[in-house]
């Protein structure tokens, strides 16, 4: 049994869950400044208030899972990305506290609106910085980061940062299409259309940028048999983007969210293909960084037992809060 491979799948699953679930609630925060009035903002926040905490827990699972299953990767990557990670964590503080505080505020509401919107946007941007510099490859020698404090800051990482803000914004807009009605929903359709075009452009740009700057990635995608085996990924991405735009045009309520998730998953798959088999690009493979079998097996037992249970009560919570959110419905505690 190839434990590191199984664990890579587990971590990849956890990260994908995080990207989708926290992605849409970060996206709602990114769209916050564009809301027409406080009533819209109430509805937007109510649509995610009961679930955001569970969504963000997938991030903690990613952190703890990496620490346990690939301690060497955890210890190599995290110090290298010190600045964007600290920015990310501080941004999460600002948006996380806004849920309770905004609800209780009367005079300071504007402050918590800002805290929520800026926190969500900065969190998404910093995540994109982390992603971009990670994909580009960090200066690592003998398992240790040898770059400087600003190594993470490159045109590419800034671009992926902006792209992730757009992408999460799209997830947020399509989520709002599902959860709202009337004027707000109409506006969410408009947001989603613009953001979908933006994200598709960003996907094309990254798909050209990475093979042009990294030979290994070019060889994987354009060499044989890669070209044949991998061609379904860009083709499916193109179809997914097309269906997304069509479903928005047809004013469908659930499909845009699913196609937006599809775009994220395909892009994610594309990145995984580009980086395989590295867990720290061009420095450590998943086997180099793996914890011993005793550790990986022990934690895997927990994963097998508890992930299905977690998924079950996640479904229960989403079912309890299904349906449209109406202003003043007041299911707040």
């Amino acid at each position: 049994m190839d434990l590191p491979l199984i664990w890579t799948a587990v971590i990849a699953f956890g990260v994908a869950m995080y990207i989708i679930m926290d992605g849409f609630d970060l996206g709602v925060g990114i769209l916050f400044p564009f809301a027409r009035d406080e009533a819209w903002r109430d509805v937007m926040m109510d649509s995610i208030a009961p679930v955001w905490d569970g969504n963000e827990t997938w991030l903690v699972l990613g952190g703890a899972g990496l620490f346990g299953a690939f301690p060497l990767a955890y210890a190599t990557v995290l110090p290298a990305l010190y600045v964007p990670l600290i920015l990310f964590l501080v941004a999460l503080v600002f948006r996380g506290i806004a849920f309770e505080f905004r609800h209780r505020a009367d005079t300071s509401r504007g402050l918590w609106n800002l805290s929520f919107a800026a926190g969500s946007t900065l969190a998404a941007f910093a995540q994109g910085l982390v992603l971009g510099s990670f994909v580009q490859g960090l200066p690592i020698e003998n398992g240790r980061f040898v770059g400087d404090v600003l190594s993470f800051l490159t045109p590419f990482s800034v671009f992926t940062g902006a792209a992730l803000v757009v992408g999460y914004g799209l997830l947020g807009a399509t989520w709002l299409i599902r959860k709202t009605e009337g004027d707000l929903q109409a506006r969410a359709f408009a947001w989603a259309r613009g953001l979908a075009l933006g994200l598709l452009a960003a996907i094309v740009a990254v798909s050209l940028w990475t093979p042009l700057t990294q030979e290994a990635i070019a060889a994987r995608w354009f060499g044989m048999p890669g070209l044949l085996l991998l061609s379904p990924i860009p083709v499916l991405t193109a179809f997914c983007g097309l269906f997304l735009l069509l479903s928005l045009k047809a004013r469908r309520e659930n499909m845009p969210f699913l196609f937006a998730i599809g775009l994220f998953l395909l892009s994610y798959l594309g990145l995984a293909v580009s980086l395989w088999p590295y867990i720290v690009p061009r420095a450590l493979t998943i086997w180099d960084a793996a914890a011993p079998p005793t550790t990986q097996l022990f934690l895997l037992v927990g994963v097998v037992l508890f992930i299905p249970l977690i998924l079950i009560y996640t479904v229960i919570v989403y079912r309890v809060f299904r349906g449209k959110v109406r202003h003043g419905e007041g299911y707040h505690h």
Binding site: F67, P79, V90, N254, T295, G302
Partner: protein, 454 residues
Amino acid sequence: MDVDPILLSRLQFAFTIAFHILFPTLTIGLACFLALVEGLWLKTRDTRWRDLYRFWVKLFALSFGMGVVTGIPMSFQFGTNFSPFSTATGNVIGPLLGYEVLTAFFLEASFLGIMLFGWKRVGPGLHFFATLMVAFGTTLSAFWILSANSWMQTPQGHILGADGVFRVDDWWEVIFNPSFPYRLAHMVTASLLTTSFVVAGVSAWQVLKDRHADTARKALKLGIAAAAILAPLQLVIGDFHGLNTLEHQPVKVAAMEGNWKAGPDIPLLLFALPDEAAETNHLEVGIPGGASLILRHSTDGVVPGLTDVPAGDRPPVAIVFFSFRIMVGIGLLMIGMAWLGVLLRRRLPRSYLWGLAGMVPSGFVATLAGWTVTEVGRQPFTVQGLMRTADSVSPELQGPEVMTSLMLFAIVYHMVLAAFLYFAARAVRTGPVPDDRPAPQPALAPTATTTGDA
């Protein structure tokens, strides 16, 4: 300015974890309190219990939110600031944190949504179940994190390789390491006790200021009763914990007692000024033979001394010494206040109620002091006797960047703390308002069926 990145990373970790632990300390206890109150409401149908639930759940939500946002950075700081420590111990404590997320965090985070927002959407049974799951989740999370911390204090069940990496030999031994049962009991009791004084103190204030005093009085009695049981119990658990430390971390005990030379007939110091350079104390005030009596149950009992180990292996004595006295002093005060309340229960004088209100922060101070004893007392090691703190900090980091992040955390955390206290104080001033909204009903149909494609 040349600043030491090692010291800064340690300060940052100490600050962020000390700040964080304040909130779980309250939420573990409050979740149990809320489960009790909701149970009483469902059983007795006395609406005052429901009003209490709806008041305390506000403070719980605020506190839980603070715990979440300050907790997420913790799971990354091992890697960012303590990368050699992560490399060395990831095989051992990584999975313990993983189990904490899998078994506890998802449970509490998911059911919290129903607990806070589901009052009108689910039936009373499911709502009560959600409260119970949140209470269970918070306690379960204490189980795993305290197991990880205890392994750092009393490591076993591992093999330390020549490469300096710990590999697990026996998981059972790792999880149930010698200090774990005592630390778990001590911390969970600390959490319940802290909460008892918060509930009693806040309710006392509400009674004094007549903020729905009739309802607040029920919580006041519950708080005093719980404290009267828990405070003495905590003293006993603490004693057992201390004896366990004596067995496994004698130098920590020497620092707690301020004892330099091992020997029999060691006094229990009430006050002293430890002098590390001269390896002695100044201005000692003590009870002869007291430390020997407490630790060895005989004045002839030998108490370990700091000079048993080289100076480089000793913790900073004064911090441990004074923190220990703060913790124990508050503990004794708690026992006194709780039992005074039991004796005066027929008619609690206003001065007593003001005293209780003043003790709202007591449990937090005692908890922080206790953690200072156990963490500083383990120094200069991160893994007792096996890995030094100086070798645990990320060498990649430079002083200025850690200085910046430390200041950022300090500023941001204090800002949100100020907002938290503001909103908490406002909720307390409003008090447990009678709530006339309908009680939990059997699950309502969703407000609208989702139109669309499916």
